[in-house]
């Protein structure tokens, strides 16, 4: 239960500038996910918060208490920050039993024995692994080790729980189970959580907020649905969503406070209130990119008013959904239909696209200029 504030954090490894002016506020009780491809600085940010790395610039406070002040070369010790960390590798001590792994930190805090016992058993029960308490980590499966690592981190009742790609070593099925488990854990403990992952599904399903990283900088901080519906730039749009978002080049022009766009999807006029503050030419035609999520494209076998006539390029039924590649002029784009559907190759169909759901990006700046609503 704490509020973390990062201000102007810079981290260098030698001359390598890995964190660039990170400003991030994590509200009390947030499940904040740091999301981004590998090497973008998300794990480094987590390690800065935990105290395992010392940034060369910036200030960090937890509940208003200064933990980092690079100007004064002040860095509070990790154990003085009231947090705990689950490592990607779990970092379970192989020479200690599950019980001892969890009790270790509590013993160091000089808790009395009964209290340690109670806390260890509570966290083991919460993670539903109390039957393994006398085993050694090597005698457990990956999923069980994962639970021990989490139990160890929560046993000390940290105000802040840090998780570094905790699910990346689990198989697909276990991952879904653990996602549910983590979500419940967050609810149950009410702890502020910072969660690092490169997996967008994890980020979208569990977080209350997502901080999207891009090459050492914070690109976008928003709720999962906002990030999904209105990615701030083309890179973010491309990174989020599976199958990936359709990007179609077009020409745009501002006319009477409205954005008029022409592309292979036809002509669109977007009202002024849906436009963002991002930079765009006030007059004259400019290059833009339209972005439409595949599930926003409906396919009709009959002609529909306002629908776009297209041909089926390929159709991939996958049981629960069907991915259809459509072709309009020279442009190809994907449509995702829930359920099983069958289309002939080169069949003529009509694509229904809700223009409110279209994002428009300025091609030059790659930033979002028209929001989906």
């Amino acid at each position: 239960m704490s509020r973390i504030e990062l201000k102007h954090i810079d981290k260098f490894y030698g001359s390598n500038h890995v964190l660039r002016d990170i400003n991030l506020t994590i509200e009390d009780g947030d499940f904040m996910t740091l999301l981004g491809p590998s090497g973008c600085g998300k794990t480094t940010t987590l390690r800065v918060v935990s105290g395992l790395e010392k940034p060369q610039n910036g200030i960090m406070t937890i509940d208003g208490v200064e933990m980092i002040n690079a100007d004064d070369a002040y860095y509070a010790e990790p154990s003085k920050r009231g947090l705990n960390l689950v490592f990607q590798s779990y970092a379970l001590w192989p020479h200690m039993t599950v019980y001892d792994n969890i009790a270790f930190g509590l013993k160091i805090q000089k808790m009395d024995k009964a209290e340690i016992e109670r806390r260890v058993m509570d966290s083991l029960k919460m993670m539903r692994i109390d039957m393994y308490k006398d085993r050694y980590p090597t005698e457990l499966s990956g999923g069980q080790q994962q639970r021990v690592a989490i139990a160890r981190a929560v046993a000390s009742s940290p105000k802040l729980l840090l998780l570094d790609e905790p699910l990346s070593n689990l198989d697909a099925k276990l991952r879904i189970d653990m996602r549910a488990e983590l979500q419940r854990l967050h609810k149950q403990l009410g702890t502020t959580i910072i969660y690092v992952t490169h997996d967008q599904t994890e980020a979208l399903t569990m977080s209350t907020k997502i901080a999207l990283f891009k090459a050492g900088e914070l690109n976008q901080v928003s709720t999962p649905m906002e990030l999904y519906n209105n990615p701030i730039d083309l890179e973010a749009a491309d990174f989020i969503g599976n199958p990936r978002i359709n990007l179609i080049p077009g020409k745009a022009e501002m006319k009477g406070g409205q954005l008029v766009v022409k592309s292979e999807l036809g002509g669109h006029t977007f009202p002024g209130e849906h436009l963002t503050d991002e930079e765009r030419p006030a007059s004259g035609e400019f290059d833009c990119v339209l972005a439409v999520r595949p599930e926003q494209i409906l396919i009709s076998r009959e002609p529909v008013e306002g629908a776009l006539p297209v041909t089926v390029y390929a159709s991939q039924p996958a049981g629960s959904e069907t991915i259809v590649t459509l072709k309009a002029g020279e442009e190809e784009f994907l449509s995702k239909e829930i359920g099983q559907a069958h289309y002939e190759l080169d069949q003529q169909v009509w694509a229904i696209i809700d223009q409110n759901k279209i994002n428009v990006y300025n091609k030059e700046t790659t930033r979002l200029i028209k929001r989906a609503v």
Partner: protein, 608 residues
């Protein structure tokens, strides 16, 4: 917006205070500092002291040179390089060393590589037994091989006849002693090094690489020539460099087989000067030896990189299909058996039998057999002899005690320091202190045993820094210290490997849990490092137990070890006694190996 350069902060009082606190509060920094100072004192200062002493006039030269004790002088270097005796002092021993080293390398590297290939890549039968037998010579100290050689080839020149002379085969001096004997004995020792290196490399090669060659239509010879050989070339090269730099500095073999006929190498000649003076010349020669080894290793570094060169190339073996030898199987087996018979079975049979003989070379009839050398008392001696059988000889028991004591104490200290230094190098990878530690620790590796001990001898024969470093001449402490520091490179390498296997995250997890540095050490690092520590300890233990070269210069009657006693007896002509002692040493080492293998899971291929 983002700045691309490291920010420069104004140095406020608060910042300064925190900066100092950050360094001082972290015990790790203190440990690094202390280790660096200790390493500096144990490695850099002795080296400088030795170099300085070659330019400083000593008491014993006052008769020959004008000046005062402690004056700067070029006398020693001139004596060695330009004096009338220069040819006998430096040039001849140098050429002998180079010749023996080069020939040893020429024999042992191909031999070891071929054996490795046979054992790893072909379908030769009986691999388990053969593989063990082939590595046995490496466990045996090289000087015992020299004794075994003498047991077989000795002739009248050194008093008692050996096995072959006893059979009536005349053995000329040039065969019994000198370069041929030295080269063959060293080859029988150092081939094992190439064997271990190359077999490691061969094991790490995925045989699919070779099978691909076969699919492309290459025949066996072409596969060997174009695929296998280039892949193991780095290991072969590094084995080559190792062998030549080690064999140039070898003392025990050269002294046992060369001194009797006045054949001196750099290492043996150096000892003559250290013993008989002028010592400064001996020190200067030792610097030449160090320079030579450094030169070879630097050359090697240029080619393959020094770290790689002394790490046995390991790695997980891929799928491995064996090459059928076909018709060549029988000749290859015959070659192996002849080799093992000549290199191991026969010499050691003869060596062991000699310990039971009254007169060497006089056959194994009952009248010539005795237990005297083991348990006899002087009044029962068949002929005039100074010593009782070794088990009744107080010199022997004292030497046995010293050997056990030395190997135990020194190896415990070494293994402990090794883990410690390994911790610093592994946690400081890529940081200045990690690199500096690794480099300092590597220095003793450049020196042959004799050169290294000469350095310590010169450093500690007189008090330094006004008595702060006392004179340790003739003390057991000095021998322990020398053995410890000389084994630093090996011990710290195994320590580094051990520490690297303990993930930093395990420590970080404890850090976050609130464990202090010392708590992390005692409850995380030490319990996890235990196994690696034991196997590292065992290997150092054995290496010190068989050591002769390193400690020979420092021996005094009270500090003698078994290897030195065997060496002295052999020099004095008590061959049977000397053989008996070396049999005891062999048993001691073999027992230790077995124990190391059983307890610590120690692997011989990690020793050198």
């Amino acid at each position: 917006m983002s700045k691309n350069t490291l920010p420069k902060k104004p140095l406020t009082q608060k910042r300064l205070k925190n900066l100092i606190l950050n360094v001082v509060r972290n015990p790790f920094n203190m440990i690094v500092l202390v280790s660096l100072i200790v390493l500096f004192c144990l490695i850099v200062i002795p080296l400088l002291t030795m170099i300085k002493s070659t330019f400083t006039l000593a008491q014993s030269e006052l008769r020959r040179v004008d000046g005062h004790v402690g004056d700067f002088t070029l006398y020693y270097w001139k004596y060695m390089l330009t004096g009338k005796l220069s040819k006998a002092v430096l040039l001849e021993p140098l050429l002998h060393s180079l010749f023996c080293g080069a020939m040893t390398t020429l024999i042992s590297v191909p031999l070891g590589s071929v054996l490795a290939w046979l054992m790893i890549r072909t379908d030769i039968p009986g691999k388990k037994v053969l593989g063990l037998l082939v590595t046995v010579p490496y466990m045996i100290p090289s000087w015992t091989k020299a004794l075994a050689w003498l047991a077989v080839f000795r002739n009248k020149t050194s008093g008692a006849e050996g096995f072959l002379c006893g059979l009536g085969i005349p053995i000329p001096d040039w065969l019994a002693y000198g370069p041929i004997a030295i080269i063959l004995c060293m080859s029988m020792h150092y081939y094992a090094f190439s064997y271990i290196q190359v077999s490691g490399a061969l094991r790490s090669i995925n045989s699919e690489l070779e099978e691909m060659g076969e699919i492309q239509g290459a025949n066996k010879a072409q596969i060997l020539r174009h695929i296998t050989l280039p892949l193991i070339m780095p290991s072969v090269l590094s084995a080559l460099v190792m062998t030549i730099s080690k064999s140039i500095g070898t003392y025990g073999v050269a002294a046992n087989l060369g001194n009797r006929i006045g054949y001196y190498t750099l290492a043996t000649k150096m000892r003559v000067f250290i013993d008989q003076g002028p010592q400064g010349v001996g020190y200067a020669m030792s610097i030449v030896l160090v320079g030579l080894a450094a030169l070879i290793l630097v050359g090697n570094q240029r080619i393959i990189g020094v770290r790689k060169s002394y790490a046995t190339v390991g790695g997980k073996g891929g799928r491995s299909t064996l090459m059928p030898l076909g018709k060549a199987k029988k000749p290859m087996m015959a070659f192996l058996f002849v080799f093992l018979f000549l290199a191991m079975v026969m010499p050691f049979f003869v060596l062991i039998m000699e310990t039971f003989q009254v007169t060497t070379g006089a056959g194994y009839s009952m009248s010539n057999l005795t237990l005297y050398n083991w348990i006899g008392t002087p009044d029962h001696a068949e002929r005039y002899i100074n010593y009782p059988g070794i088990f009744r000889n107080p010199e022997f028991s004292s030497a046995l005690g010293n050997t056990v004591r030395l190997s135990l104490i020194a190896s415990i200290i070494t293994a402990f320091c090794g883990q410690f230094l390994g911790y610093i190098s592994s946690r400081g990878r890529g940081k200045w202190y990690g690199n500096l530690t690794e480099q300092l620790v590597f220095v003793p590796y450049l020196m042959s045993g004799v050169a290294f001990s000469t350095m310590y001898f010169s450093m500690f024969s007189t008090p330094h820094l006004g008595g702060l470093i006392p004179s340790l001449y003739g003390t057991f402490t000095l021998i322990v210290l020398t053995s410890v520091v000389k084994h630093f490179p090996f011990a710290s390498r195994s320590g580094t490997a051990n520490m690297l296997s303990i993930s930093v995250e395990l420590e970080e997890a404890a850090d976050i849990a609130g464990a202090s540095f010392w708590k992390r050490m005692t409850s995380i690092i030490i319990p996890l490092a235990k196994n690696g520590f034991i196997s590292g300890f065992m290997l150092v233990f054995i290496s010190i137990a068989k050591e002769l070269d390193l400690i020979i210069i420092m021996m005094t009657p009270t500090t003698r070890t078994l290897s030195y006693l065997a060496f002295t007896y052999s020099q004095e002509g008590y061959n049977q006694m000397s053989d008996a002692i070396s049999v005891v040493v062999l048993l001691y080492i073999l027992l230790c190996y077995i124990a190391a293998n059983k307890i610590g899971g120690a692997d011989i291929s990690k020793s050198w």
